[in-house]
Structure formats: C-alpha cells, structure tokens
Assembly symmetry: C2
Homo-oligomer: 403 residues x 2
C-alpha cells in the first residue's frame, strides 16, 4: 500500500505537532509576526542553512543546536532579520529561545530560532518576548495555517504543503510551510522552510533526505539571485507515526525521501510563483546534458537571467537570451547542438533560429506558467529550475522596503 | 614631459585613423548602424572576447584573425548580433569583412568584424553590404563621433574618450569608443569597445596592456549580470606617433598601459551611467581586503545585486543588503569587522548597525553618483566596481526589446 496522498495543512499536519502565533507589532501593527512550532515529544532534527558568509544570529544559534540532532520547538519571527546585530543579536536570539523554552516547559537546547525581515536593525525584544508568551498560550494542532501566515514578509500568500505515505503499514505524514518572496537564490540552503513529520527516522537518514530534497527543490529556484543571510530549512521528525524506524537507505527511506522532496518542491514552486512582483512562473527544463550539474547550472542561469525574466514579462519570445544565459552559466554544452522550445513551440534548432509562429509563441507567453525547454543532445541528465518574471512591481517593492 | 592630457574625440583621435558610417536600415530606418574603422597603415592588434560559451559569428571570426597580431580595419554593425545563426552567420561575417576589405583596398585577413543587436535573427545582408560600401565611401579622420553613434543600440548617448601622453619626446594618442547598455556583466571581456592608438608597440606588450586595462575597467562594471554573446574589446596600434617602439615592460609601457586604462575606465563608467533605465551611477569601493580578488568579487557583487540596485533607485539606505551581497560574493572577509559608508556617512561599524542620519543618507542617495564603501579591515587590497540602479525603465526596455 505504497501510495502517496496529498493533504491540506502544513506544519501541524503530522501527529503530535502544534503551532501558536501572535501579533507582536515587530514591523506592522496588526500582522501576525511570531510563530511557535512545537512537538509534544522531542524530535530528531536536521537543517540546511544559508551559505552566505554573513549569517544572521538565529542562523548561528540554530546551526549549533541542530548539530546535536534533536529539537522540540522552533520560534520564528518576521519583520526583523536579527542579522548584522553583533553580539547583541546573538543574545537576543538566545533570549527568544529561552523564552519559548520556558513557556513550553522544555529544555532551552531543544529550541531553534529563525528570523526574517529587515537586516541591520536591533530586535525589538520588548515586543518580541510578550509575543512569544502569547503564542505559547495558544498552541494547537490546528495552528499550522496561522503559523504560515505569521512568517510571511513580502509574500502575498502563505505557503503550505503536506502529504501522507504508508511505511510498514503505518500512515506517515510530512507537512511543511515556507516563506520567501525576494532575496531568493538559495545555494545549499534557502529562505525559511519548516517541515514536520511523525516518521520514525534516524538523524543520519533524516539529514541525508533533507539535503536531497532541498537540492532538488529550493536550490533550483531563483527570484533575484540574491542569497539571504537568514535562509534555513529545518525538519523535525517525532516518530509518533509508529513506523519501523528508518535507519538505512532502504525502500522506506526512498519513499520518505521522495515524499519530503515532493513537499519541498510544492513549497518551492509556490515561493517562486509568489516572487516579488511576479506575474508568471518560469519553468526551465534542461534535457540531455552530460552531467546533472551541467543541467542544473544552465537551468538556473536561464531562470535567473534578468533579461529572460523581463522578456517573459513583456511576452517577448526572445529565445536568444535563453541560449545566451545558458552560455555564461558555466555548464558544458555545444551551442550548435541546442534545441529550444517555448512550451510546445520549437523556436531554435541546433543553436539556430527557426521560423516559428509569433502568434502561438505569444499565446504560450500569455499563460501563468511559461515552460522553456533546452535540449543539449549530449547525454542523459536533466534538471528543472523555476523562476519568475521581472516586473515593475519587483522594482517598486524593493525600492522602498525598509520604509 | 610625462604628462597626460585628456582630449575630445575617440576612435579617430590618433594619427592615421579614419572612420566612416552609414544608415543601412538593419533594425531602424534612419539610425546610423554601420561603422568602419580604418588605419592608413596596417596596425598591431589585440583583443579580448566574451567568455560566453555561445559566441556570435563575428566574435569567432575576429578571434581567429587577431591571433595573427595584425589588423587594419574593423567593420561593425548594430541592430543585429549575428549570433546563433549557425554556418550562415559565419559566412555573413566573412562576407562583411570581405566587402570592407574590397572597398578599402586592403587584404581581407586584416579586417575584423563585430556585431551587436538582436540574437538569433539572420543578418539582412541585402542592407548590410550596400551600407558597408557607403561607409567606405566617406572615411574621414573626423568620423569618430558618428562611428560612436553608429554602434549604439539601447544606449542613449555615444561613448568616446581620448587622451595624449608623451613617449620618447613624441605625442602619442589613445582614443576609443564603446557601446553597451544592457546585457552587461563582462568577464575577461566586454560589450563592444574599439580603441585606436598611434603608439609604436609590440604585439605582446599591446596585448598585455589591453588585458590589464580591461580587467581594471570593463571587468568591474555590471548592469544586469548578463554576459553577452558578442562582447569584444579591440585595440589597433599603428605606430604613426613615431615613438621608440615599446617592446618590454619599461616606463614607457607603464605610461601607455595607464593611459589605456584611463580611456577604458572612462568608457566603462559612461556605459554604466547609461545602463538601461539607469538614473544613478553606483560606485562600490572595497578597501583593505586580503587579496585583490576578494576586493573585486565583493565590489562586483554589491554593484550587481538587484536588491541593492532597487534600494538605491528607491533612495533607501538599506545597507544590510550591501553586506548581504558581499556575503554571497565568494570573497573572504569577516562580517563582524566590516565598516560601511554611504558617501561620507558611516552606516555600519564592525558589521553592526550604527545610528545614522536618515536625512543625510537621503541627500547622498539623491545624487547622480552614489558611493558605497566597505572597509574589510583585513589587508591592504582595494578595488572599485561600478553599477547602476534598477528601475522601472529597465523592465520596460527589456520587456519589449525585439519588437
């Protein structure tokens, strides 16, 4: 009975997980801006974190704590990134964790911290601490949706995904939430993403599965090629599903890994679709590359090119920019072999222009999702990357973010 | 008498150089779109070319020819890049060179070719060839300014620079022109740039001086992080100044190299200032880095960050994005040591926010040129990079470029 079922819900979909939120007024008066995620029992934990040399205080704290392989709660705020705040930032992150631990009655070391928002402003602890207490006072297994809302910044919609699989006759749920709209160009880590599961799984296997899932989802999306100081993707696995513990890379592991990848991919695509100012999702598929790395490099470069993004916004079938972006991506390929398709319409063959119907191309560019396919015709490796168009609204949103 | 003097003029400022132009109607009806540059005697030639794996046909032809170290003319068109046109593209580039050679009465092998414009459309040779003949019919040592106009695409102003130095008692002139406004993120080569000089210099020294000049000018500017398929910077040195030939890295070489760098830097800054949609020049200085490469990486990343660019457009003193961009640049530095200045206003100390006057910051951001300084406080290497703000007009211009 190895089937996968999509579920509504997110971070509280799995057994034993609760969430609580509060509106602490960190940046905006009435917006929810504190979320607390909690497992009724200690959970196995794994995470991937930003590769940016400038790491926010909560990233540094959470990286240290997750090294132990265990966690039971995550306290998250939006509105302030607590980045570039020096030692005070670190003290504030630790204080946030301590407040959450106290309110939930669990050891401090089992609390992770995450923040997102403006960089380089002191955390308003006078607002944050009461908010954490308030959130802890309303923990509920129905709290996932509000938590997804609480972590939003320039996001216009919350992002949640969940699904169920069957492992050893037991129903196992994997659910998550993510935020991120700008400053998105993950590299080995990403934005904020929190995933919970009731699967029983070893720390090593959980960590491996998360890395696989992230490299096949969040690491293949880009909004603006800016890698944030605060990115993290964290998973808590509390074992309450009662499945035989996954301790090696067997069939159960693969099933779990793929379910996790599915959840991450859905969240990743939702993030890009909600990219700052975006009106269209751009899906770039590179086929038949010599190596997976070549395919990924080229797909990401095309999805991230300002010129490709602006052309898609303007509904201009400017495929030359697509090949140009692949050309500077660092991927190994032969330009004179490449076929390019816009949706079903072939626009280039063997690296050369092809007569194509501008009308059909325009119809394809009118859709919400624009698919671009590059066939390298060299090997058998493929990758898909996702981006969004570059619009006037991206400029507007980022022209006055702090104010 | 080792002084440097700035001159008006560009590619025909040096002795023995002429230029002619024509309006061939390649993309627009009345715009000049063919330029022919000619030295009355064969010249020593050197060039640097795009690192994009996808190279336009004229780039491939010019790379082969310049390997011989000699050239006497360059034929350039705007409006069509002759990129991604397969074997036909190569034949067309060779035909353009042959037509120019025939009209000027010089060997075909001494003619270089360059194109800029839309990628992936066949070159309209029925318009281009008569245009080349027309241009050859009006060669003049006064033709530089019109040539600078003829190579423009989305540029709004022509870019020229020239200066004179004294070598061995002789006046030596170095002059050049460049075009480029979008798809600018050079790497070891750049946009279109043509420089002429009457200096007597060996092929090896010329080549070395050009590489130095380009890496200190064009390789430190960025408009949109898109590296074009057609970039090239070419220099012709015809020796007519009569100076003792420069054949080694002596004082004369250094004087010449620095003059060349000066011309390239002025052209590079003009390019960025005229970046697509740009309203401001962003000058990013990284000081006291451990290595020159660290300084350059960080300066370029900050100058190229969409988020920094949009913040500058919106006059938002969002210095957190500056440190964030340095953080993902790959440069080696310690975030907790970095000081950041906006103009004269210090906005961060030791990687931390500093109380600063938002009003003074706003005044600085109101200027045409916005200077950002990062002091790494680690070593003694510095670099400056130049970029421009990201505006609504960049999106508008690139949303409907082909049409």
């Amino acid at each position: 009975m190895n089937k996968t079922e999509k579920l509504p819900g997110g971070v509280t979909a799995a057994a034993g997980f609760q969430a609580g939120t509060a509106s602490a007024g960190i940046k905006y008066k009435l917006k929810r801006d504190i979320a607390l995620i909690y497992s009724t029992v200690p959970a196995v934990a794994a995470g991937v974190f930003t590769t940016n040399r400038v790491k926010a205080a909560p990233v540094l704290v959470s990286m240290r704590r997750i090294a132990g392989g265990k966690a039971q709660a995550i306290v998250v705020n939006s509105g302030n990134a607590n980045a570039c705040n020096g030692e005070q930032g670190e003290r504030d992150a630790l204080t946030m964790a301590a407040a959450a631990a106290g309110a939930l009655g669990i050891p401090e070391e089992l609390v992770l911290v995450a923040s997102t928002g403006v960089i380089g402003q002191k955390m308003p602890m006078d607002k944050v601490l009461p908010g954490i207490l308030e959130a802890a006072g309303c923990m509920s297994s129905e709290g996932g949706a509000m938590a997804a809302e609480a972590i939003m910044t320039t996001d216009t919609v919350p992002k949640e995904a969940a699904l169920q699989i069957y492992l050893g006759g037991k129903v196992v749920t994997v659910g998550g939430m993510a935020k991120g709209s700008g400053m998105i160009h993950p590299n080995m880590a990403t934005l904020l993403c929190f995933i919970t599961t009731d699967a029983a799984i070893s720390s090593t296997c959980l960590s491996r599965a998360l890395k696989y899932a992230v490299s096949n989802s969040f690491n293949l999306i880009t909004v603006d090629r800016d890698t944030s100081t605060n990115d993290m993707a964290v998973i808590l696995a509390n074992g309450l599903a009662g499945n035989p513990e996954i301790v090696r890379e067997d069939d159960d592991y693969l099933l779990f890994r793929d379910a996790l990848t599915d959840v991450c991919t859905r969240l990743a695509i939702d993030l890009v679709r909600d990219g700052e100012g975006a009106t269209k999702l751009i899906q770039v598929e590179v086929r038949n590359a010599l190596t997976l790395e070549d395919a990924r490099l080229a797909a990401r470069a095309v999805a991230g090119s300002n010129l490709v993004k602006a052309a898609i916004f303007g509904r201009d079938a400017n495929w030359g920019r697509v090949l140009c972006a692949a050309g500077y991506s660092g991927a190994n390929f032969e330009p004179e072999k490449v076929d390019i398709f816009l949706g079903e319409e072939q626009v280039a063959r063997n690296g050369c222009s092809l007569e194509f119907s501008e009308e059909r191309a325009m119809n394809i560019l009118d859709k919400d999702t624009v698919r671009i396919v590059l066939d390298f015709k060299m090997g058998d490796c493929s990758a898909t990357a996702w981006g969004c168009d570059l619009t006037y609204d991206y400029v507007r949103i980022n022209g006055d973010y702090r104010t």
